[in-house]
């Protein structure tokens, strides 16, 4: 995907999709674009800008086609990712010019039925149709296609999710033609030992180059600890959301997504290059805060500031 030029870790910003879909206010398109501009200015290389779901289900993301087109036109170097729940969504995403399609598949079938209203087999059917769509495209217009295994570390409905099940789903997604598989800790259940174990198992099954990304939540405060565990076993892409946007407002501090500001600080302090400037992130946060007055934003580094004498990774 060419995203790793000059960086060690890819921080994939999911706020404009995962964050905005979780809050009540609908951010105007112009405000989304201004926020994305500021993120790009800070050095963010990949942004999930929206989701191709029916507009009546997620009015917050109804402008996704427009956002994709505008962002692609303005920032040709940016890797523009979108969520697609099915082949119909993928078709629209391809038409808009997205660089990466992510299709969620919930390891917990109970969760899959509740969330996507589909069994695993039905989701696999959509995957196959998307692969067909993609193979009809010329190589230079073909977006990357990731199967994202959600509830991979446990499920609020089913509890423990067997590792063998996650591995089998990852194998199936690759066999059907996904370029890669990501693992999502949707419920914030993961712990560092489990992250190391499950990533290793998936790597052994499908090859490390096919599973490079983790989507971690900070629900129980273990988000960055799980990042460290992921780094240890060769994960190079981490999703995060600016300000932890989409966190649960009735539980202070109990954000959903890990916070981009804290993640970037940690990685850069560890000597891992993200390409992202923490000061630039602070400016993007101000743009976001102005567009969403009253919406709580999370993060420790934004409150505490950078350490005296802090230097980014060289």
């Amino acid at each position: 995907m060419g995203m790793m030029d000059g960086i060690d870790v890819l921080v994939s910003e999911v706020g404009p999709r995962d964050g905005l879909q979780s809050i009540k206010p609908v951010m105007p398109t112009a405000a989304k674009l201004a926020w994305i501009d500021a993120l790009v200015e800070a050095g963010v290389r990949e942004i999930e800008v929206g989701s191709f779901v029916p507009a009546h289900l997620l009015p917050q993301l109804a402008d996704t086609p427009e956002v994709v087109r505008a962002v692609k036109a303005k920032h040709p170097g940016l890797h523009v990712a979108v969520l697609v729940p099915n082949a119909k969504g993928a078709e629209a995403a391809i038409a808009a010019g997205a660089d990466k399609l992510t299709l969620p598949l919930s390891a917990s079938e109970t969760h899959s039925l509740k969330n996507l209203r589909r069994t695993h087999e039905q989701v696999f059917g959509e995957v196959a149709r998307i692969v067909e769509l993609l193979s009809a495209l010329p190589a230079e217009r073909r977006p990357q296609f990731e199967g994202a295994v959600s509830t991979a570390f446990g499920c609020t409905l089913e509890g423990e999710v067997p590792e063998a099940k996650v591995v089998a789903l990852a194998e199936r997604l690759i066999a059907l033609g996904c370029d890669e598989v990501g693992l999502s800790d949707t419920s914030g259940y993961a712990n560092p030992a489990q992250v190391r174990r499950l990533v290793k198992a998936v790597h052994a099954a499908i090859g490390p180059e096919r599973m490079t990304g983790l989507h971690l939540h900070n629900t129980r405060g273990l988000g960055l600890a799980n990042v460290v565990a992921g780094l240890d076993v060769g994960v190079t892409t981490f999703d995060s959301s600016q300000g932890g946007l989409g966190g649960c407002p009735f539980a202070p501090g109990a954000s959903g997504n890990i916070v981009t500001e804290d993640l970037v600080f940690m990685l850069e302090a560890m000597g891992l290059r993200t390409g992202i400037d923490p000061e630039g992130l602070a400016r993007a946060r101000a743009v976001l805060a102005e567009a969403l007055p009253g919406e709580p934003l999370y993060g420790f580094v934004p409150d505490a500031g950078l350490p005296l004498g802090f230097r980014r990774a060289a």
Copy 2:
């Protein structure tokens, strides 16, 4: 110290000292004892119950001698730790019957002068006097003596603290007769790469058995990530504070000490036995909250709850 019987990691609760000294209200002695009772009931093996500093400097901890005596009488199996700033404090701590004395030494001399009003050499003088006091005691009455190197990972006044300086201070403390050395991230500057590097360097200099404990802060959200790094290099004792007590009330989420509830959850979820029951911790938190009405308590697990199907380490 016999504390590691049947457990893999020692969680050393510092709330009654480090937490209570950082907040305005003075908790009545009876309330402290009720809180400590609840912590012991939850399975906590070591608690720092106070500090032997002049009462006018820290009225919150003026009852430390009384607390030590009462706790030792009621919980003979508990490892009762106290902070001592100097030989005079150590004498009083020994008289009260403390099991462990911790003397802070700030790696940053600027911080040492501001905080303890002593140069490094003056602190070493106190260490030597304490070692003398201790060697006069019969072995069975001799408390453990730890030199705690604070600002070991950076200082808000000096910025970066050279690792060679921390190593040299650790060597000096051991040469003077400390039983062991701890490292404290007083300023919340540490990152996981640095934790691994510095702990390894200190281990190489004084032996791993002489440096087993880390005191980490969560100021920038990296507290538990740094715990994971510490575990990787053989650290087996971590300080934490229930509810992150002593956190900074004007910066939501920006707690000081790492939160005991979150730490215990992470360790137990990773399969590391702490001896501590998360449900028991929740009961102790309720005791604490009742004793300190209006005081903010932190932590993610207390808000989010334990995962469905959660099991402690076997």
